[in-house]
């Protein structure tokens, strides 16, 4: 069922409805991961909705808590982006969109990360001004079931209470991001995992106000805003380079994706191939692969051999589906920058 791209008529066996990203029918492992990721994104949204509403009620005058609250509100963006993108990319490629709709993921990623950059920068300026002008945060009493207690205690409590769950959600989603090769999910998980630091910083800021150090709040707010901006810049860079067709990398952008090497190695191992080299771009979840092969002895391979090689490559990894093999007399250095020039062509 894997090499089903020969004709446009996609006659799938009835019964189980296959989960797909465009053409690509997901293997069972990815299918399960996708379902789980959707579930956890909904849990994240539910948790964040409750926690931001709760913190809004006790916002008070602490800049740090305000920054932490803004970050919580912003962390709603990646889950929504993920869920919307997961819906869009199920669409089949069409005549108008022959490459499918995978880029929806990249667009969602850019939008979410730009929001982080803007808010992070704004909060840095806002908190920095507070620090420079020596603004003393004023936090008074709070009516707690008929007792007036210091609102700061409530704020610290709220911060510590909401610090834990995102870390767990982040850990779960990080694993799924790897399975699904999903960078939005990765960005989301990374943010969640770091969320406890934000909450703790805000709590420390408020505790500082409590002992009469007015500046701890502004400093904590600066730390939080800087982390928001850092997340934003890091994600914007990753999202934009992916949209710019950078060579496909792993889900966390830490290294080139190994499947490229595997494909080249396999192709070069075939007895009719002299050399092979591929260029690969990341469409979101799936890759576009163009493999240039130089046939041994400059003899054009048979169609059967080409199709068999293509099928074998597609079977290597579920992400490889949209793949073409191009027989050439020598590897074209203009399309494969970095290969040792085979000399002469231009």
């Amino acid at each position: 069922m894997k090499a089903a791209s020969t004709s446009s008529g996609e006659d799938r066996s009835p019964g189980r409805i296959p989960a797909r990203f465009g053409h690509t029918e997901l293997p069972e492992e990815q299918h399960a991961a996708l379902r789980k990721a959707k579930k956890f994104e909904w849990i994240t949204i539910a948790f964040l909705t409750v926690s931001t509403a709760m913190i809004y009620l006790v916002l008070g005058n602490s800049q740090a808590v305000k920054a932490a609250w803004v970050e919580d509100v912003l962390s709603l963006l990646p889950p929504f982006s993920f869920l919307i993108a997961a819906r869009v990319i199920r669409k089949q490629p069409s005549e108008e969109h022959p490459y499918g709709f995978h880029r929806a993921v990249g667009i969602a990623h850019v939008v979410a990360s730009i929001a982080l950059v803007v808010m992070g920068a704004y909060l840095i300026v806002d908190s920095g001004l507070g620090l420079v002008t020596g603004e003393h945060p004023t936090i008074g009493g709070f009516d707690f079931f008929g007792q007036t207690i210091w609102l700061g205690w409530i704020m610290i409590g709220a911060m510590l209470l909401t610090a834990g769950p995102p870390v767990y959600l982040g850990h779960v989603k990080m694993k799924l991001a790897k399975t699904l090769h999903d960078k939005v999910l990765y960005a989301d998980a990374a943010m969640n995992k770091a969320d406890w630091m934000t909450a703790l910083a805000a709590a420390v800021g408020v505790a500082g106000i409590g002992i009469g150090w007015w500046w701890t709040d502004a400093v904590a707010a600066l730390v939080i805003s800087a982390s928001i901006l850092h997340d934003g810049v890091r994600n914007t860079r990753a999202a934009i380079t992916a949209l710019m067709d950078k060579h496909a990398r792993t889900y966390d952008d830490s290294e080139p994706h190994p499947v490229g090497g595997q494909i080249d190695e396999y192709l070069e191992g075939l007895d009719w191939v002299e050399t092979a080299k591929s260029r690969i771009r990341d469409e979101g979840h799936v890759f576009h692969v163009e493999s240039f092969v130089v046939p041994a002895g400059q003899v054009m391979p048979t169609l059967e051999r080409l199709e068999a090689a293509r099928k074998a490559c597609i079977d290597m990894d579920w992400k490889v589906q949209d793949m073409v093999i191009i027989p050439v007399s020598q590897l074209p250095s203009e399309y494969l920058p970095g290969i040792p020039s085979s000399g002469g062509e231009r």
């Binding site: 005058n61 603004e135 003393h136 945060p137 004023t138 936090i139 008074g140 009493g141 709070f142 009516d143 008929g146 007036t148 210091w150 700061g152 205690w153 990080m174 990374a190 995992k193 406890w196 630091m197 703790l200 709590a203 420390v204 505790a207 106000i209 409590g210 002992i211 009469g212 150090w213 007015w214 890091r234 990753a238 792993t250 966390d252 952008d253 830490s254 290294e255």
Partner: protein, 171 residues
Amino acid sequence: MGGKSFLQRGGTRFAAVLAFTAALAAALFLAGCQSVPVDPHGTLDRVSDGVMRVGASPNGEWVSLPPGGEPEGREADLVRDFAGKLNARIEWTTGTEYVLAEGIKHGELDLMIAGLNDKTPWEKHSGLTRGYTESTDERGTRHKHVMLIRQGENAFLLELDKFLMEAMTSK
């Protein structure tokens, strides 16, 4: 970048331990302090058994200034009761809201009353009490009434908030 680097993995665990220690230290430190919050400028300490500098600007039933006498009205009475609770003597200053708000901003006044609500523009350079009571004006708009204190004097503010809460519930 990536979550795979050794630094980041080891770093997270290290940071967690560090943060836990810091939180613990902070908790102990806070518990050690007799009273939280603390005033950065020590207003509550200075006012108790001392002098409380209060600004009053006339505004309807809340603050009125009879010629030659001390300020009167609901808020003036409340402030007198509060001062009595702290065993403080009141030093009154009267004037327009702007003049008094400047006094609050520069720490020349501890407290200001002017029948203000929680939408007051003076909030930027001062601290507000909780809305201790509500009123409805002739246009039907509801107002939460507040008093102003010097920005960040949280112990003094908490004391005042507690007092206002009690004064309102005991009525």
